[in-house]
Amino acid sequence: MNALTLSRAVGSGRVQLISLRQSCVTTARTRLLWVVGGFAFLALVAAVRLMFIGMESGRTSGTSLAEALLPARGEITDRNGVPLARAFPAYALWFNPHALGGDGAPLVGSPKEVAAALKEIFPDLDEEKVRQLFASGKPGYIRRRVLPEEANRVHDLGEIGLETPREIDRHYPQGTMAAHVLGYVGADGNGRLGMEQVLNEHLSNPATRGQPVALSIDMRVQGALEDELERGMKLTAAQGAAGIVLDVDTGEVLALASLPEFNPNKIDAAGERLMFNRMTNQVYELGSTFKPLTIAAAIDAGVVRDFAARWNAQPVKVGRFTINDSHPLGSSLNIPQMLMHSSNTVTARVADELGPERLRQVMVDLGMNRRPEIELPARGYPIWPGDNWPRLQNMTVGFGHGMAVTPLHLASAYAAMVNGGVWHPATMHRVEPGTVPEGRRVFKESTSSRMRQLLRMITKYGTGRSAEAPGFRVGGKTGSAEKPGAGGYRRTAIVSTFAAAFPMDRPRYVIVTMLDEPKGTVASSFQRTAAWNAAPIVGRLVPRIGPMLGVQPDETRDIDLSDLVPIVPEAQR
C-alpha cells in the first residue's frame, strides 16, 4: 500500500466522519426544535387556557350574595324580634361505614368503645342502638342535631367513619315554648300545626322568606305564663292546663299555652299525642266565668239597674230540675254579692228575666256560636244549643252550662266586656299602632265600666281573692264546671277556670287560666275549685308580666268602688 492509497483512505474516513457529525448535529437540532416546539405549544395552550379562565372567571359567581344568605325557610320571631323558629345550617352525626375504604372494619376502635365514647359526649344517647348500627355496617344517622362544640369532640375521637355533615335544619331555640303556637315542619319541608302551617307559603316563598315574620307573642310573657301554668298543674296534679294573655284593645295574643307541650325540635309518637291545643281546639263548659257575661247583658238590656236590689237566692225549680248553689248563700243577694259568691240561683233568675233571645244575641255577638277567630288552624267548634233556647237552657247558659266553648272564646268575650264593650278577633300577628281593625260593639261603654267595678270586687272581696296582686288592680271571675261523661256530669272531674283582666282602672290585658281535672292536694288545701288552683296562677303571673307589659304597680291607685262598697257588707269588714 503506497502513500497515496493511504492518504485516500484517510481522506475518505474523514469525509464520512464529517458527514456523520453533520447528520448528528442536524438530528439533534431537529429534535431540539421538536422539544422547543412542544414546550412552546404547551405554553401556548396553557396561556390560552389561562386567558380563557381569566375571561370566564367573572361569570362563574353562581348564586348572588343575597340568594346565598336567603334562609331555606323564613324566620319566625316574637313581637320584639327574638327568634322563635329559624332555619340554619346545623351539624348532624352520620355513620359512613365506607369512609375508611377497603373491606376492613369501618371504625378504628371497636364498636363498643366508639359507642361508649359517643355516650360520653351525648349522655342521652342510646348506646345499644348505636352499637347495633356500627355492627350492621349500614350508613345511618346517629343524631340529627349536633352542637358545634359536640361536633368538635366527635372529631377528636379520630374516627373517619363518624361524619358531621352540615344540613339545613329548622330549629326552635326556645324548645317547647309556644310549641302549639309555632307548630313544626314535617319531613316534606311543609309546616304542620300552628303558625308554621298558616305561614307556610310566606315562609317558603323566595320572594318573602327573607323577611322574618313577627308574631304578637312576647317571649318573656309566654315563658312566665308557661312557668306558672306548669307549676299550678303539677301542684294540683291536673291532667293539663291552658292559658292566654290577650290585649283587650287590639286582640293581640301576648302568650298562649297548652300544657303539656310537645317539643317541636323532636317530633315523635309521644309528642304527637300532645299536639292537641286546649286553648283553641278543646271546648269546655266554662261554668261560672260566664256569669259576668250574663250580668253584663242584663245591665245592657236594663234588666239590672239597681245594684242594691235583692234577688231571691233560694233554689230555682224548673220542671223536674232544680238549680242550686254549691253552698247556701242566704235568702237573697244583690248583684255584687251574687258575683262575689258566684251564685247559680241568682244568675239563673237574672237570665230568666233577661230572656233567651237577648242572652242568645249577646252570645252570638261574642262569637260563641262559631269557631274562635284566630289564625291558628286548630280551632274547635263550640257545642251551641241552637236557635231556640228553652227556659231551662237559658238559665243554665247564664251560669256557663249547656254550652261548651274554647277558653279563647271566653278570653275574647272578657276583653270586649272590659275594654269599653268592643269585640275584636284574636290575632297572632303583631298589630302596628294605628292599624287596629275595627271591632263590633257588643256592650255599652257604661256597662263595661260597671263590669270593671264588679270584677274588681270579686277579686278584692269575693272568690277571686287568691288572684289579687297588690298594686296591679286585678279583677276576675272563678269558674269550676264538672266535666260531662257517660250518663251525666262526672263529679270527680272538673275544669277550673279563672278569667281576669288588669289593671281594672284602665284594663289592658285579659288573662284566662284553665286547669283540666285538678285534684285536691296539699297545695290547694284539698280543694278543687278555681279559687284554689286557677286563680292563684293569675295572682303569681300578673306581678311577673305586668312591668314587662308597661303596667306599673301602684298600691295607692284603684278603680273607684265607692258606690258599690256600701251595699256589700262583706266589703266593709
Binding site: P83, G175, A469
Partner: protein, 198 residues
Amino acid sequence: MTMPRRLSALLTQPAGQTIILIVAGALFLALTLRVNAVRSEVHHLERQIVAVEHQRLLLETEFETRASQRQLSTWNEVEFGFQAPKGDQFVEGERQLASYGVPAGHGAPRQIRLAGGTPAPASQGALADLARVLDSEPVERGRLEFGRALAVLSADEGHADSERIAAARFDTARLAERLTAGTRGSTAIGTRLVRSGE
C-alpha cells in the same frame, strides 16, 4: 417631524394601524383579566361572608338555645331564687323617693324636702350644666336689665362712645352673672367682679 405628524403618519400606514390594534388588544386583554381577577376576589369574599354569616347564625342559635327562657327559669329556681318585685318595690318618681328619707341619726332634724315645679334635668357633666345655667331664662333677663342700666348710666356721663363702653361692661357683667348664677352664696365674688368691670 413633530409628534402629531408622526402619529398621523403612523395612523395612515397599515403597519401602524396594526401596531395600534395589537397594543389596544393587549391592553383590553390585560384590563379584562384584571377586572375578572377583582371579580373573582369579590366572589371569594362573598363566599367568606356567607360562611361567616352561617357561622354567626349557628352560634347565635346555640346561644339562644342555651339561654332559653326555660333554662333561665330553671337556673333561677335552683341557683338564685329571684322573684318578681312587689308593688311597693316600685318608685314612681323623685318625690316618692324623697318621701322615704329618714333622719341621718338619732335626734337629727328631718331632712329638708324642697318642692319644685318641674323636676331638674339629670346632670350631664359640669360643662353641660354650666351651659344650661347660662341659657336659662332668669339669667338672660337679669343680664339684659343690668346691661341696660349701665348703658343709661354711661349716656348720662356724656361720653361719645358710651354704647361701646356699655357693651364692654355688659360683657363683664354677664361673666359675673354667669359665675353667680352657677353657685349659691358666691354673690360677693360676683359683685366684686362687677365692680372691677366698672
